[in-house]
Symmetry: C2
């Protein structure tokens, strides 16, 4: 059973304002909650649909779980198809510090929550454990972002920092940025602790951040006659650079 008051408290967490205020966020869906249970996040509450709970009681260990009806799950979830599981989770106070040999993905004003989540997921695949977001990036704890990480929000440390400050404080490392006319990623020699900077979907890397870039790299277009795409999706560009970095 879940009270009306609790439903409305959870629904408030659909909004950034209340997530910021309460320092909480939502994790929705079976796979994501399973990965959450193995992570170091602090879980406040778990809600399960009755059917799911009956069949999977074992997976929660000592964690108390509240059973809800499907219409209740529909109300507390942000998803159009209600998930079997939803958790209310405490936001991390501080991300773990970045080791000097660790690579970093830096995101400058990424606006689309799906893109941010996909980039965190891809970073996780390639073993990049730290993502630094500019303060004007879309919020990491946005439910769409968390959803599109497909559980990788548990593995990757997300920092919010002024990017110029961050890059200046790390000027003993190389900062790679994608630009038209840079060195081809096919020939570029990547280093273990490179910082990979990806710019916003519509405007690329902002001017003050671009001034901190030490190496300009480019994803070459295919050989073709006639017109081709003007640019790549930001999450696609980030993935291609991370894959090349991973094969260094």
């Amino acid at each position: 059973m879940i009270s009306k008051g609790r439903i409305s408290e959870i629904r408030k967490l659909h909004l950034k304002k209340f997530r910021d205020q309460e320092k909480l966020f939502l994790v929705e869906g079976r796979k994501s909650v399973e990965m959450l249970l193995e992570s170091d996040f602090q879980i406040c509450d778990i809600y399960a649909t009755e059917n799911f709970y009956q069949e999977h009681q074992g997976m929660f260990g000592k964690m108390a779980v509240t059973m809800v009806s499907l219409p209740e799950m529909e109300r507390i979830s942000t998803l159009s198809t209600p998930p079997e599981l939803l958790a209310v989770v405490r936001q991390r106070q501080n991300a773990q510090p970045i080791g000097e040999h660790e690579p970093v993905l830096v995101l400058d004003r990424i606006a689309d929550p799906g893109n941010l989540g996909t980039m965190v997921r891809t970073a996780d695949w390639f073993g990049i454990r730290h993502v630094v977001c500019s303060p004007d990036c879309v919020e990491f704890y946005n439910p769409k972002t968390i959803q599109s990480t497909m559980g990788s929000f548990c593995h990757v440390q997300v920092h919010v920092r002024d990017l110029v400050d961050f890059l200046k404080a790390n000027n003993d490392r190389r900062a790679l940025g994608t630009f038209l006319g840079g060195e081809s990623i096919n020939e570029f020699e990547f280093h273990d602790n490179d910082i990979i900077v990806i710019g916003s979907e519509s405007n690329g890397i902002s001017v003050p951040v671009a001034e901190c870039i030490t190496h300009r790299i480019t994803i070459p277009r295919g050989r073709t006659n006639g017109p081709s795409a003007e640019s790549l999706n930001a999450a696609v560009a980030a993935a291609i650079v991370m894959e090349r970095w991973s094969d260094r």
Copy 2:
């Protein structure tokens, strides 16, 4: 001026059923319509906000343009922020045939319109001009798909075909599919007219299609201790394979 009747006809095109019936689709946003004007698509109508039209009359040549108010544009558009331009466009009857030396991207049950659009955009960047979708892929003319191609819908020929039929009819070419445990894309030798097969977001390549795959390839995970992502986003995986193909 736009009549109430015309507004409701255009709004019907927000739905697949009516797009199928009328063989029409919508193109929204300045950039996309600009690319549309340079393409071989047949344009039925263009709607422009008054301000935009006053300032950019020249760009339309002999094409008649209907001016609409911002509230009218809001009604006919599928976007939450109304665009400056919207066009009603005839769907292609037949895609151009695939040349024997041309590469092909094959998509098996892609469900997310944004992923499909992003893959078309990425194919365009890398000079892959043909995308073959299974009949159960999300519709190419879905406004979200068209939107996320960022104009590349004008450059790429999209075919809808039974994939087993298609692959059998093209069994003189190699069909590459991504699987765990295949040959690493870092060492794989790509050919000019390879067929690259990408499976659905949730289930990968379906069994009958997998039986037509001639070469199993893999995007290696990063070297890392501890857990990592279980998979990559389908559009990300497609992009990484296309980038490696492009660097053959």
